[in-house]
Amino acid sequence: MEVQITMDSVCLASEDVVAREIEGDLIIVPLVAGIGNADDELYTLNETGKAIWQKLDGKLTLGQVVEALSRDFSASEEKMQRDVLGFVHEMVRRGILAVKE
């Protein structure tokens, strides 16, 4: 089912991943059949991805996330919105992020 993602959506880490900051990198391990598979399914985010991820706490709407991030990075909201939406779409598609109902 395609979930509609808008600026009012609230996102958070999916139940099916374990995310942990390790040696400065944010490492995300998807759970496959209840087992964390770090052998071929590991993800890591770069600084920007990490900054977006850390704001997705299940409370802020994407709109608020964009606002906060464009302040942090002194970037235009329009550009940030594109990046955040792209990020969230991709992560939801991969089952790493979940959209809160």
Binding site: I22, L31, A38, D39, D40, T48, G49, F73, G86
Partner: protein
């Protein structure tokens, strides 16, 4: 870096697993993270302290301990009491305060380890994509019992004796000039060619891994060659060309040179290396670099013969020293100037 650039880069945020190498402490941290959630972790491990039951690059599934205490014979992941590093060894004995642990391939035990230091138990071993049964089944108790004393190491020595003797005899023979001369004459059909897909399958199986350089990463260029004798793959080499973004690993590197033991002394290593040199020259490289185990005298001799000299790259020294701590093998850099 300006803020706009930072944002621009946000689309390089996903790195598929396998390409990311976690350090030992990184693995430990990840394992803790998984077990806080109460889920097992499937991960590749390095080292040979559990050989032959667990081997370098085996993929292990490590489950949280839960309520059941470890028992003699089980293989557990724990924080080493002295070094604080993640270690995976076997419980050889239950003691009053905890457990006595020892690697199947270690001459000494790790000492007594408490429950707080044990992170999880190994529930599955995979090698080359297949589950390996031996080492975790009922035989585990016998292994633990033997390993309380020198029994296991002793059996291993005896077991390996005929093979070692044969290997020694073969190496002596291969070093013998007449053998080399005759061999080269008889092995005239030995060819070196770019590796085809089916050759690479053979290589992957032999190296027991999906391998660091079988996956193409951005900007990285890899060329693979195989040596063949009578249609059979008997050797392998790679040229890995990395762009400047790889910093001290940038440049042209000869990698993974290997000739199957039975076919050494026939000139295959030399042919393979020469092919890499030619290709690097054609690409306009100023130098060709390689890493070799400092004890691998035969390889070093071959490289020297082909014009490589040992050099020190200061930026790599700490990495290579750390590798020695981790794996026990010290690699050194050799370089051949191409112009």
């Amino acid at each position: 870096m300006g803020p706009e650039q930072l944002v621009e880069e946000s689309f390089s945020w996903v790195i598929r697993g396998g390409e990311l190498r976690l350090s030992n402490l990184g693995q430990l941290e990840l394992l803790r993270g998984m077990h806080e959630r109460g889920v097992p972790l499937r991960i590749m491990v390095r080292g040979s302290s559990m050989h032959p039951f667990i081997r370098d690059r085996d993929v292990l599934t490590i489950a949280p301990l839960d309520s059941r205490d470890p028992r003699a014979g089980e293989v557990v992941a724990f924080t080493h009491p002295v070094t604080g590093r993640l270690v995976i060894h076997r419980v050889i004995k239950e003691t009053d305060r905890g457990w006595l642990l020892r690697g199947d391939n270690c001459s000494k035990s790790d000492g007594e380890v408490t429950k707080e230091q044990i992170i999880g138990r190994v529930t599955r071993i995979e090698r080359g994509g297949r589950e390996v049964g031996l080492g975790l089944g009922p035989e585990r108790k016998l292994i633990a019992l033997l390993n309380r004393g020198p029994g296991l190491l002793f059996i291993k020595q005896i077991w390996l004796l005929p093979r070692r003797a044969a290997g020694f005899a073969l190496r002596c023979l291969q070093a013998f000039p007449l053998y080399r001369l005759l061999g080269r004459y008889l092995a005239r059909s030995l060819t070196v060619a770019p590796a085809e897909d089916n050759d690479l399958e053979i290589i992957k199986r032999r190296f027991h891994m999906s391998g660091p350089f079988f996956k193409q990463s951005p900007g990285l260029k890899v060329c693979n060659w195989v040596a063949k004798q009578g249609g059979k793959v008997i050797g392998f080499v790679q040229l890995v060309s990395r762009p400047q973004a790889y910093r001290h690993w940038a440049g042209d590197w000869l990698f993974s040179l290997q000739v199957w033991p039975l076919y050494r002394g026939l000139g295959a290593g030399e042919k393979l290396t020469n092919r890499v040199i030619e290709k690097a020259q054609k690409q306009g490289a100023a130098e060709l670099l390689l890493l070799v185990n400092e004890n691998n005298i035969r390889a070093i001799r071959l490289y020297q013969k082909l014009g490589f000299t040992r050099i020190v790259l200061p930026a790599l020294e700490p990495i290579l020293a750390a590798e020695k701590n981790r794996t026990g093998r010290r690699r050194v850099v050799m370089q051949k100037k191409l112009r």
